[in-house]
């Protein structure tokens, strides 16, 4: 192994060597810089590999032939090697990326860059606090110099502000250092660690040292200077500052916090939290991309500082957690800054130019996912472990705040991604530079590589080795194929996986697997209708399906949560594909992530920090009657309820489902919502009834279910947009299912299961049908349609069957659900919520009737006369569903009998007796075959009667009616469709008042307002920034030490 001292020697040597060259030998200078950084990176990476694989031991490097503390020493351990790898590689890539700018500025700039990387490496390696100071000043000066690379005229002012603040930091550092030395007799960090200092005297010196290093981390709110640098500097420099400098500075702070001892850790925690939350909050108000990234950087570093503050509880996992977050952040942030250099405009919406290059768009998405700690990236494993450690040590407020901050960050990052995907592309774009593009790709590869490494190091197994996810990711490579080929492959994959896994599942899991995966394959049939490559669809969809497949497979809480996140991400990208779906996709992902964080917190709490935590263990917690059990229940339930869009968390659903593409709507409605039910099912199965403050939480769930069923239905009848109507109906239907589950009896669960199956079938069918209509008419507004029955008879049939099934009218399968429902509530003690359910049944009939009436009946519009039936590929799955609905109506026992027995095993009861074709419960009976036959026979007889009387009837032309003593000729005047249920609006319109939307809107508005207000502390005046730094230091000083010394 090459000693790490050569990293420093090479950096310095190269710097001086470049100085020796003539100004016109730019090529040679560049080569020297490249060689030096390449060498440094090679040494670092080879150390990292050797240390990580255990083939080398950590090395202490002494200088001057004298042992520490009498001479400066350096240390190369695993953490150092990792950090150096990140720093030097970032430096190397930045060199390549900034080559044109560097060349323009001359060889000196190259020297500055090399020395900056050297100094950052020194900052990481050194074990001497004064040496730390020297390297720190080198970093400051080099950064100040590199700021000049920017085309932005304001960069000079930013550099000056930076120097001003650095002066203050330097002063504090020096005073801190000398008094620490006085107290300790040593400048060596390890010696300081050996002699813990109290809060007086030397403690104050230590405080000055620590706070100076913290200020260097750009903590909110003393960080205006840093933001100006981020905004104005060359993006390559910002990438360096954000990825390499922040990383090194953080490690410097970490070394000293480690030395200072556990007493000081709360300081890191609190300052980190303030920074994380504050910076992310202010990020909400940003429109400039680089400044936004700056806020995000500050936030992320704050988060790592929080992790630093938890080193006492993280133990061995400390490096894994801190490294996971820090490295992922470095890679992602560098990548984003590099992309920002390729984007000509500075407004967030200007990133729409990325659409011209799908690979960059993919990179953008990847970096965002990395920043947010989504699977399969390293940050995910780290956040998971962090959450568990925090929960295990009862640091729940910290956990809560961290998750809150992450959610806010997700808000602005995903909003941004939405801009990139959906905003108009304002400029004719010349194309991206090849080197810049290559550098971004390198960062992306690095991020995925980190994800793999962290996965390999995880006790939970590597997500990137999970077959479904690999299969989904393979579609990224297959993107150039035509859509039909990918579709075929996707269907084969889904069916193959179900076939492969199904034999091992119990009936409950089997039903969900069939609905989610085999059901997904059926819906995918409709995707054959789309021509071309259909870029981005298959990776997104397959990630969602991979998540679902893994969700059903999950044995441990980790597997479950990872799968949950995967399906959330996949579905987000899927929803975002819709034309007008930008805001809705955003609210979807925010609610989903909020829910996911609740789930994370719930699992962390449940496990008490012990991992891996099998899902079955939830039962043990419930049985033990621990006081935390109801809280676990509550958190998990909230997480699942956001996914089922239960009332209160429902506002994302209508837009998200309505604006999605034709074949996406059934996926996200028919399939995705079931993930929430699946979660709830597991939760209730394992934890049963839980009470909090004397309130039975399942009772609460019953009410939420009933309210969702009612409100969803009421809102649905007021919709003019057909897909929105269906979307609200989903809220209502999920309410029924939730209601059934929460009844906590055998029949209730059977009811929920019937809703899982039925809702999948008829909602998928209806969405496909309405989607087909929309593709022909190019509108979703029902009053603009009408009379389409003659043009789209097959679609009409599927809608007809769909609404009969859904409204529960015999003889189709929906009735079975209603019958089970009555039997279930009969054996339950809960009566009041039933009222709401009773009411929502007929109301559902209203909106369903409206759906079929205003679209297919009434007067055909002139502009629709020449339309054709929907594509055969859209109809194919619908006809399958029709057949299934009729089959399921006649033979429900095919599916239900086994599940019934399974549920019976759980409750220890047999609620239904299956004799022949008849089903008998404690209270009543139901013979689906008989019903079908009786109705069929009567229908045929009456029809025959009519035909006998009226066999010559011929279809007359449109408008063969008399209306107001006129024969109308304009369909618009006679199509009674808009505001169809006007009386209802008059009577119950108050229910339409968007209280929930207003509530969440109020929260986001106040967040934005406070962000916009708070960020005005960054006046742009360097002097004010300097004063803020001192205020920050003094304030923390007074709080931390005020009472002691």
């Amino acid at each position: 192994m090459v000693s790490a001292i050569f990293i420093i020697a090479a950096g310095l040597g190269a710097g001086f060597l470049i100085g020796l060259l003539r100004e016109d030998q730019k090529g040679a200078a560049f080569t020297v810089a490249l060689a030096a950084l390449g060498f440094m990176a090679w040494v670092s990476v080879s150390w990292f590999v050797a240390l990580a694989s255990g083939t080398a031991a950590p090395q202490d490097i002494i200088t001057a032939g004298t042992q520490p503390p009498f001479a400066i020493n350096l240390r190369m351990g695993l953490a150092e090697a990792g950090l150096l790898s990140v720093i030097t590689l970032t430096g190397l890539l930045s060199l390549v990326y900034m080559a044109p700018a560097l060349r323009a500025l001359g060889r000196r700039a190259l020297a500055v860059l090399v020395i900056l990387v050297m100094a950052l490496s020194g900052l990481v390696l050194t074990r001497d606090i004064f040496n730390l100071f020297v390297f720190f000043e080198l970093v400051v000066i080099a950064t100040g110099g590199l700021v000049l690379l920017s085309d932005d005229k304001r960069a000079v002012a930013a550099g000056f502000k930076y120097l001003v603040v650095s002066q203050i930091v330097g002063i504090l550092l020096l005073i801190g250092i000398i008094f620490v030395y006085h107290a300790n007799g040593s400048l060596n960090i390890d010696d300081i660690a050996a002699q813990p200092m109290g809060f007086t005297g030397a403690g104050l010196a230590l405080f000055l040292l620590l706070i100076a290093l913290v200020v260097e981390l750009k903590p909110f709110p003393a960080n205006g200077w840093a933001l100006d640098i981020y905004e104005a500097a060359h993006p390559g420099v910002s990438a360096l500052v954000s990825a390499a400098s922040a990383t090194a500075a953080l490690y410097a702070a970490d070394k000293l916090f480690a030395a200072a001892g556990p007493d000081w850790l709360p300081l890191a925690t609190v300052l980190g939290l303030v920074s994380f939350l504050g910076a992310n909050l202010l990020g909400l108000a940003q429109r400039n991309d680089r400044r936004l990234l700056g806020y995000s950087s500050i936030g992320q570093i704050g988060l790592v500082l929080v992790v630093v503050g938890q080193r006492d509880i993280l133990g061995d996992a400390y490096l894994y957690v801190a490294g996971g977050i820090l490295f992922t952040h470095a890679v992602a942030k560098a990548g984003l800054y590099w992309i920002s250099g390729l984007v000509p405009g500075r407004d967030l919406a200007d990133w729409a130019v990325l659409r011209t290059n799908p690979v960059l768009l993919f990179a953008f998405a990847g970096f965002i996912a990395m920043l947010l700690g989504l699977p399969p990236f390293a940050g995910f494993y780290a956040k998971w472990d962090l959450a568990h450690a925090l929960a295990g040590a009862d640091r729940l407020p910290v956990l809560g705040l961290v998750l809150l901050g992450a959610l806010i960050e997700a808000g602005y990052l995903f909003r941004w991604f939405g801009f990139a995907l959906k905003r108009p592309n304002p400029v004719a774009f010349p194309g991206f530079s090849t080197t810049g593009f290559a550098v971004v790709l390198a960062a992306l590869a690095g991020g995925w590589g980190l994800g793999f490494v962290w996965g390999a190091g995880s006790v939970h197994g590597n997500l990137l080795l999970a077959a479904p996810l690999l299969f989904a990711l393979a579609f990224l490579v297959l993107e150039p194929l035509p859509a039909w080929a990918k579709n075929l492959l996707a269907i084969a994959g889904l069916l193959g996986w179900v076939g492969f896994r199904a034999p091992g599942y119990d009936p409950l899991h089997l039903v969900f697997a069939l609905v989610m995966l085999a059901g997904g394959a059926v819906i995918l049939l409709a995707s054959f209708a789309v021509k071309g490559e259909r870029f981005g669809f298959y990776p997104s969809a397959m990630v969602m399906y991979a998540g679902l497949a893994l969700l059903i497979d999950a044995q441990t809480s980790f597997q479950f949560f990872a799968a949950w996140e995967l399906l959330t991400i996949g579905s987000y990208f899927l929803i975002l594909r819709g034309k007008e779906s930008e805001p809705h996709a955003l609210s979807y992902i925010l609610f989903s992530l909020g829910g996911a964080f609740a789930i994370l917190a719930g699992f962390a709490l449940a496990s008490g920090g012990l991992q891996p935590f099998a899902l079955d263990n939830l039962a043990a917690i419930a049985e033990a009657g621990l006081p935390l059990a109801p809280w676990v229940f509550l958190l998990l339930a909230i997480g699942f309820l956001t996914k089922t869009a239960s009332v209160g968390f429902h506002i994302w659903l209508p837009g998200a489902h309505a604006e999605a593409e034709t074949d996406v709507s059934p996926m996200v409605s028919g399939i995705l919502l079931k993930a929430g039910l699946f979660g709830l099912w597991l939760l209730l199965m394992h934890m049963g009834r839980q009470s909090l403050f004397g309130v039975d939480l399942t009772y609460l769930l019953v009410w939420i279910g009933a309210l969702s069923a009612f409100i969803g239905a009421v809102l649905a009848i007021f919709q003019e947009d057909a897909k929105r109507l269906l979307a609200y109906s989903s809220i209502s239907q999920m309410g029924y299912a939730l209601f059934g589950l929460a009844l906590m009896n055998h029949l209730g669960w059977l009811l929920a299961l019937m809703f899982v199956i039925n809702h999948y079938v008829y909602k998928s069918m209806l969405f496909l049908a309405i989607g087909g209509v929309k593709e022909r008419t190019h509108t979703k507004l029902m009053y603009k349609m009408g009379g389409l029955i003659t043009i789209m008879p097959f679609t009409f049939v599927s809608v007809l069957v769909g609404i009969i099934a859904m409204s529960g009218v015999p003889p189709l399968s929906g009735f079975g659900g209603r019958w089970v429902f009555y039997n279930a509530i009969m054996s339950s003690e809960m009566r009041l919520p039933v009222v709401l359910i009773f009411m929502s049944g007929p109301i559902a009939f209203l909106y369903l009737f409206r759906l079929i009436h205003t679209i297919f009946l009434g007067q055909l519009k002139d502009e629709h006369r020449k339309l054709k039936e929907a594509s055969g590929w859209l109809l194919a799955p619908q006809m399958i569903f029709v057949a299934f609905l009729i089959g399921f109506a006649i033979l429900p026992g095919m599916v239900l009998q086994r599940v019934d027995a399974y549920i019976g095993g759980h409750f220890g009861s047999t609620a239904l007796a299956w004799s022949g074709r008849s089903i008998t419960s404690e209270f009543g009976y139901w013979n689906p075959v008989a019903i079908m036959i009786v109705i069929g026979v009567i229908f045929v007889i009456v029809l025959a009667l009519l035909v006998a009387m009226n066999r010559n009837a011929q279809k007359v032309k449109q408008f063969n009616i008399v209306f107001s003593a006129e024969r109308p000729f304009k369909p618009q005047t006679t199509h009674f469709a808009w505001n169809f249920f006007a009386p209802y609006r008059k009577a119950l319109g108050f229910l339409e008042a968007p209280h929930v939307t207003r509530f969440w809107g109020g929260i986001t508005d106040s967040l934005h307002a406070s962000a916009d207000f708070t960020r005005r502390i960054y006046t742009g005046n360097g002097q004010t920034y300097a004063a803020q730094v001192i205020v920050f230091v003094v304030a923390v000083y007074l709080v931390v030490l005020g009472g002691v010394s």
Binding site: V809, V834, V835, F845, Q954, K955, N960, I961, F976
Partner: protein, 301 residues
């Protein structure tokens, strides 16, 4: 209970009796109404005349498949409702096809005809039809709510969903009727009865003055004949359910005739003394008066 072929004949007999009973009863009711109003009124066989006349008329007009099928759905719904409920308690002949399903089947099958009717009327393309459907559906959701609650209440009371068992539980004297054992539920159910009989004050759905006759506007001749048949059959079928659930059922056709007539008259009597509600007014009415009673019913069981 299982199926035997002879049941088809019995069922046909039930349908025949009920249709005739309905034709006469509705005419009688109209006649009484006319007499109360000081008019002479129609002859009691007027319904037969109308029916025969409409059957005899031949139409060559159809607005489309759903239009054609609408009356079929409608009448199927009426007959089916009748046949899924035992008409005469204790009579093997008139158990009909109750073995196919219980009370829940009957409750939900009500919508079958409504749906078909609405669809057919919708295809006619006449705005009055659509307006009538809109009003009717809107009103019925609110009106049915008290019934649903009342049904829930008495199924809890009798711990069964089987109509036969509910009737059985009411045998053995006047005071075993649900009317007396559970007057609140009965009251709630009666709200629903008056609300769904398409009589004043809840008849804005068919409002003859403003939207000729509402949903069936475009129907004529044989279509209308089927619907007329249903219009006499369906109220009776529905009243039978009320009779079975709340008024002790009927153990013979005489009792049947009296009880059905009496229950039917309730809605008639309410109708003659009240002006017509607009739809939103009736929705509010049912939510304000019917709903609390229904809730009370399920709470006190």
């Amino acid at each position: 209970m299982s199926f035997e072929w002879v049941q088809i004949a019995y069922a046909a007999l039930t349908v025949f009796i009920v249709i005739n009973y309905g034709l006469i009863m509705t005419a009688v009711v109209q006649k009484i109404g006319a007499r109360v109003g000081g008019r002479y009124g129609i002859p009691v066989w007027q319904n037969y005349i109308d029916l025969v006349k409409n059957i005899a008329l031949r139409s060559k007009i159809s607005h489309g498949v759903m239009f054609y099928l609408g009356p079929v759905f409608r009448l199927t719904g009426g007959i089916g409702l009748l046949l899924f409920v035992p008409t005469i308690y204790g009579s093997v002949m008139h158990q009909n096809f109750a073995f196919a399903g219980d009370l829940i089947l009957a409750l939900y099958f009500v919508f079958f005809g409504t749906l078909g009717m609405a669809l057919g009327a919708g295809e006619s393309g006449h705005p009055h039809a659509a307006i009538g459907v809109s009003r009717g559906l809107a009103q019925v959701t609110a009106a049915e709510l008290p019934l649903a609650l009342a049904v829930f209440a008495i199924s809890l009371q009798y711990q069964t969903l089987s109509i036969t068992e509910i009737v059985a539980a009411q045998q053995g004297g006047l005071f075993n009727w649900t009317l007396f054992t559970n007057p609140i539920a009965t009251l709630a159910a009666m709200f629903a009865l008056v609300g769904t009989m398409m009589r004043a004050p809840f008849d804005v759905v068919v409002a003859p003055q403003e939207i000729p006759i509402g949903p069936p506007t475009e129907y004529h001749s044989a279509y209308l004949a089927l619907m007329q048949t249903n219009r006499v059959l369906f109220p009776v079928a529905k009243t039978v359910i009320y009779m079975n659930l709340f008024f002790g059922g009927a153990s013979n056709w005489g009792e049947f005739a009296v009880k059905v007539f009496a229950i039917y008259m309730v809605s008639v009597l309410v109708g003659v003394v009240h002006p017509r509600f607009r739809v939103e007014q009736s929705i509010r009415f049912f939510l304000k008066w019917g709903l609390p009673v229904g809730i009370l019913a399920i709470l006190v069981v």
